[in-house]
Amino acid sequence: MTAAVEIDHLTVQFGLFTAVKDVSLQIRQGEFFSFLGPSGCGKTTILRAISGFQEPTQGTIRIGGQDMNGIGPNQRPTALIFQNLALFPLMTVAENIGYGLRVRGVPKAERDRKVGELLNLIALSDQGNKKIEELSGGQKQRVAIARALAVEPKVLLLDEPLSALDLKLRQHMRNELRAIQRRVGITFIYITHDQGEALTMSDRIAVMNRGKIEQIGNGRDVYEHPQTSFVASFVGENNGFSGTITKVSGDQAEIETSVGRLTGLNKKSLAVGAKATLFVRPELMRFGAQGENNLAGSAADAAYEGMTTHLTMKAPDGSSVVATLTGAPAREFPSEGSAVSFAFSTSDAIILPA
């Protein structure tokens, strides 16, 4: 099956600065695909390249098998949801949604019919005549989506659309977006720096850093099986211990760090002497029991967050180690400064190149 979007050795340079470095990937039809990364990593540039507002310095972009080189944004089968939504303030809700149809010369009756359908889809059936200024944040979001869907794009591109909303609304909109995508079946390409968003909404995620793709995979892959140190530390919280590999046996390895010798899974088959970092998720760190790896230090902080409690320990080399427990009462944590120890299993630790 032809991929919905194919990016082939895409490089985008601005003068001396390279925003996107030789990125290649394929996005499947009907997929909810996210680009996740810190600001400046190149995700916005890729989005603008796909939608036609940014010309690639090198490489090709194919949408539905067709090479997009030289095709302007108004002729591409894409629709973009801007970060500030860019709704037309002087037009009503219905006029906004129907704009794409209007410029394609769709006759008024047909246009009104389609706009009506979309208004129903976004549950704003009786709000067609309102001005944009009268809408709430969530309503504006939905209008932006309806406006994009009206032109029946092959790919819908979303540029951090939820970043301006407040927390509860944001979480609600995540579900809405996902539901709409499932109902309509269009390929969604979503960019964000919030990994919670990426994990809950996406079928697959591409983690980016400084113009390069670090890893592509679904939420589980990216969270539980990070392939690079960046992914391990960017997605979710993680404890990282840097050092040098001293022993390798099977799929495990031993690493000498500033807090002692630790063992973990060596999926990347690093050799002895290689510089590496061992990562253990805080929720896999155990407190109050012994294990295959033990860390001793002094109690630093116990942060109670309701569902979880984050216990922080200060290791002898000065670094902090965090263990996250669910449902455990904070009062069990010894007072600040007294001796504590954390433990973790070798199979819960991952060793990645430094």
Binding site: S51, G52, F53, G72, P73, N74, Q75, T78, A79, L80, F82, N84, A86, L87, F88, L90, Y99, G100, R102, V103, R104, K130, K131, E133, E134, L135, S136, G137, G138, Q139, R147, A148, V151, K168, L169, H172
Partner: protein
């Protein structure tokens, strides 16, 4: 007395003198228009009358000049607003090294004395129309419109430039993204956004044209406008009919200003209502989300 009170007293004194100087002559003129004496004077008041207003409206030259001024004003608006808009749009797109040169040229009419603009317009078109055998173009109204528009377009351009600066380019991109051509973006998205600037530059253009004298007096050739008739009358001799004209103009502008203020207030109220509605919608939205999560 504290230094603050001294300052306040001095300020009040200064304002009194300032606004006295500013309004004094006009009040004098206004009063003189109602005074029966044939020579415009404020003191003594020999009697109150409206005859001067009557004489004014029967002054055929004045009426003709007024009609001409309105006609020219209309054409100036029709010419200056599109020129100003084009120049403003061009400003952001012109080759950057040429930009300051371009700016000097288009702003220069504002800084050039009006008489010079009038003279140069006449000289140029006289030569051009003789050389190209189009003498019919060498006409007072035509030249007055061109002469006035040369600097009035610059005013319009400056107004458009400041409005354009506040245009959200993302809207242009949104239009393109939805499939509009650049031309469609211009007409559907940019022009509606510029509507306030179009309106205010049209008003400015009309008023500037109507009251212009320096340029018009050269460019109008043998024809007349209200200002040239007025200048002629004033040179011939002074009568209170002229004061009457001033009073009329002031009255018309006050009425215009009041209407404008009322319209603006109504627009502001409507806008506030819309923002309030949005706020209410936000609250309702948050409420319904809370309710949904409680039942979930």
């Amino acid at each position: 007395m504290s230094s603050k009170t001294v300052m306040n007293v001095m300020l009040a004194f200064y304002m009194a003198i300032f606004f006295g100087f500013l309004f004094g002559p006009l009040i004098v003129m206004g009063i003189s228009s109602f005074n029966t004496s044939t020579y415009p004077q404020v003191y003594p008041i020999e009697g109150l009358t409206l005859t001067w207003f009557e004489k004014l409206l029967n002054d055929r030259d004045m009426v003709y000049g007024m009609k001409n001024s309105l006609w020219i004003g209309m054409w100036v608006v029709l010419l200056s607003v599109p020129l100003g808009l084009a120049a403003a749009m061009m400003m952001s797109q012109i080759y950057s090294k040429a930009r300051s040169f371009y700016y000097v040229i288009v702003v220069s009419p504002v800084l050039t004395p009006g008489v010079i603009i009038g003279i140069s317009t006449v000289v140029f078109w006289r030569d051009l129309t003789t050389a190209t055998n189009s003498k019919f173009l060498y006409d007072g109204v035509f030249l007055a419109v061109l002469g006035q528009s040369s600097f009035i377009s610059a005013y319009c351009m400056l107004m458009f430039m400041s409005r354009l600066n506040r245009f959200d380019r993302a809207q242009e991109e949104a239009g393109l993204d939805l499939g509009a051509s650049q031309t469609q973006v211009f007409f559907h998205i940019l022009l509606p956004f510029l509507r306030p600037a179009i309106f205010s530059s049209a008003v400015l253009a009309f008023l500037s044209s109507f009251e212009n004298y320096n340029t018009t007096t050269f460019a109008i050739l043998a024809d007349k406008t209200l200002t040239t008739v007025l200048a002629g009358r004033v040179r011939q001799g002074t009568t209170p009919a002229i004061s009457a004209l001033a009073v009329l103009i002031i009255a018309v502008t006050i009425v215009g200003a009041i209407i404008y203020e009322l319209v603006k207030r109504r627009e502001d109220r409507e806008r506030q209502a819309r923002l309030d509605a949005a706020h209410a919608a936000e609250l309702r939205e948050l409420e319904s989300i809370e309710k949904a999560t409680l039942h979930a």
